[in-house]
């Protein structure tokens, strides 16, 4: 095949497909890159995304590189006028919030992206108090599983050891802010699925923290109930159900038996959280 013919082949864009790491993936209009990838069984690391909830784009673990996107650049585009040769179409985006557009050439599982994702994960670990051996969620924790996936061996940065409060006021639910990673899954689940608005994030930057919508600020005075999705959706050990600790022994938990990259695991994790005796 001549070089010219080869170029023609690679430039042919099949309608409604994106390309992730060389694999053509179909998508429906309105789907994000994450939606299309998950539907096709391609894992993009993520913590703040859960299918069915409004994408949030805050954890940045699903950062992917888009090589060329369908957009025209005119000669007056200032980005083309630099004296350096730069690929102006190359950009990093959150897969969970970026709509899939036909012809996108996406890099996902690359050493460079996984190294950046590992650094993000290390920062999440050292900013909170994530002491896995002392946490009931160990083995069922998505943060931990993503860290395993990325081969994280240490925290790299100096530990913050922040002092955060435990809210044990609720009869059946415990809130340990030591482990909160501010993914807002509970915030969105409470608002969008439970219709309650129990949680919110207050403060900015390093002062951002999870708050409870009740007159006292305590969980006991909120309308949170054990059956709420917000109680079961926490990817880490920040929201725990009381009196159900260590029912599954360490070594036989979800991520002791599965990799986080196995697609279709989300319903398994949620079901397990709701029916711990299964």
């Amino acid at each position: 095949m001549s070089a010219e013919a080869n170029m023609t082949t690679t430039n042919t864009v099949t309608p409604n497909t994106i390309n992730i790491d060389g694999q053509d993936i179909p998508f429906k209009n309105g789907q994000t890159i994450m939606d299309a990838a998950l539907a096709a069984g391609v894992y993009i690391p993520h913590l703040c995304h859960k299918p069915g909830l409004t994408p949030h784009g805050s954890c940045k673990l699903c950062t992917v590189d888009i090589g060329s996107r369908s957009m025209s650049t005119s000669a007056s585009d200032r980005r083309t006028q630099t004296k350096f040769s730069v690929d102006i179409d190359r950009r990093s985006v959150s897969a969970c919030t970026t709509p899939a557009v036909a012809g996108q050439q996406i890099s996902n599982d690359t050493p460079a992206l996984n190294e950046v994702r590992k650094t993000i994960t290390q920062m999440l670990f050292i900013e909170g108090n994530h002491l896995c051996p002392a946490c009931e969620k160990t083995g069922n924790c998505t943060l931990q599983a993503v860290a395993y996936h990325l081969g994280m061996l240490d925290g790299h940065f100096p530990q913050f050891f922040p002092r955060r409060e435990v809210d044990a006021s609720h009869p059946t639910v415990m809130l340990d802010l030591d482990r909160c990673i501010l993914c807002e899954l509970c915030v969105r689940a409470s608002r969008e699925v439970d219709g309650k608005n129990v949680f919110a994030i207050a403060g900015r930057g390093i002062n951002a923290h999870l708050i409870v919508n009740s007159p006292s600020g305590k969980l006991v005075d909120s309308d949170l109930e054990t059956g709420d999705m917000a109680v079961h959706i926490c990817p880490v050990g920040a929201i725990l159900i009381k009196e159900h600790g260590y029912e599954v022994p360490i070594g036989r938990r979800t991520f002791d038996l599965h990799q986080v990259g196995e697609i279709g695991l989300e319903p398994v994790i949620l079901a397990k959280a709701r029916h711990t005796n299964e």
Partner: protein, 178 residues
């Protein structure tokens, strides 16, 4: 060929990592054909000679821990942080939520069942650090072996890699933090 010389120590840890090291069981016999133990609780040698590999369990909670860690760094070509406490402070670091005086008062004055309440202050006791720290905040660490404790297979994997002159690469199926 001379044997690879290894030193081990437990700082602010529980000796669980050392117990897990011994879980190699009969594989220790084969390992000891290539390895000799220098300073270690297993040999009771009190100070390091120049070593090839240092395995350090536990974080830093007192001045003696820092002193011992510096001796290991000065004498070991390759220093490995072993276990959760060495890597991020682990369970002992849970005292970092409180100030040191609160901890001492709770343990030695106000605790349940305390007889003759007094805070120990013998001159031979090493001074406690204000906070518990992981090893890499004080000296350079070459490799990390996570786990609480790391399994015998993890020890074998890393030591095997080093003995055969490879860069240690822990297989993902052995990686765990609990």
């Amino acid at each position: 060929m001379s044997k690879i010389r290894i030193a081990t120590t437990s700082l602010a840890g529980c000796f669980g990592c050392h117990m897990s090291f011994l879980d190699m069981d009969e594989r220790l016999v084969a390992l000891l054909e290539h390895v000799e133990l220098n300073r270690s609780p297993l040999t009771d040698i009190k100070h390091c000679d120049p070593c090839d590999i240092g395995l350090v369990e536990g974080g830093l909670c007192n001045a003696d821990n820092v002193h011992v860690l510096r001796e290991f760094r000065a004498n070991c070509k390759i220093l490995i942080a072993v276990g959760a406490c060495a890597i991020n402070g682990g369970v002992p670091a849970m005292r970092n939520h409180f100030n040191l005086r609160e901890c001492l008062e709770e343990a030695f004055l106000n605790g349940v069942g305390v007889d003759n309440p007094q805070i120990p202050n013998d001159i031979e006791l090493p001074l406690l650090l204000d906070k518990v720290h992981p090893l890499h905040e004080v000296v350079h660490i070459d490799y990390y072996l996570p786990g609480c404790p790391p399994s015998a297979d993890e020890f074998l994997s890393v030591l095997g890699d080093l003995l055969e002159g490879r860069e240690p690469a822990l297989p993902k199926n052995l990686l765990h933090y609990d």
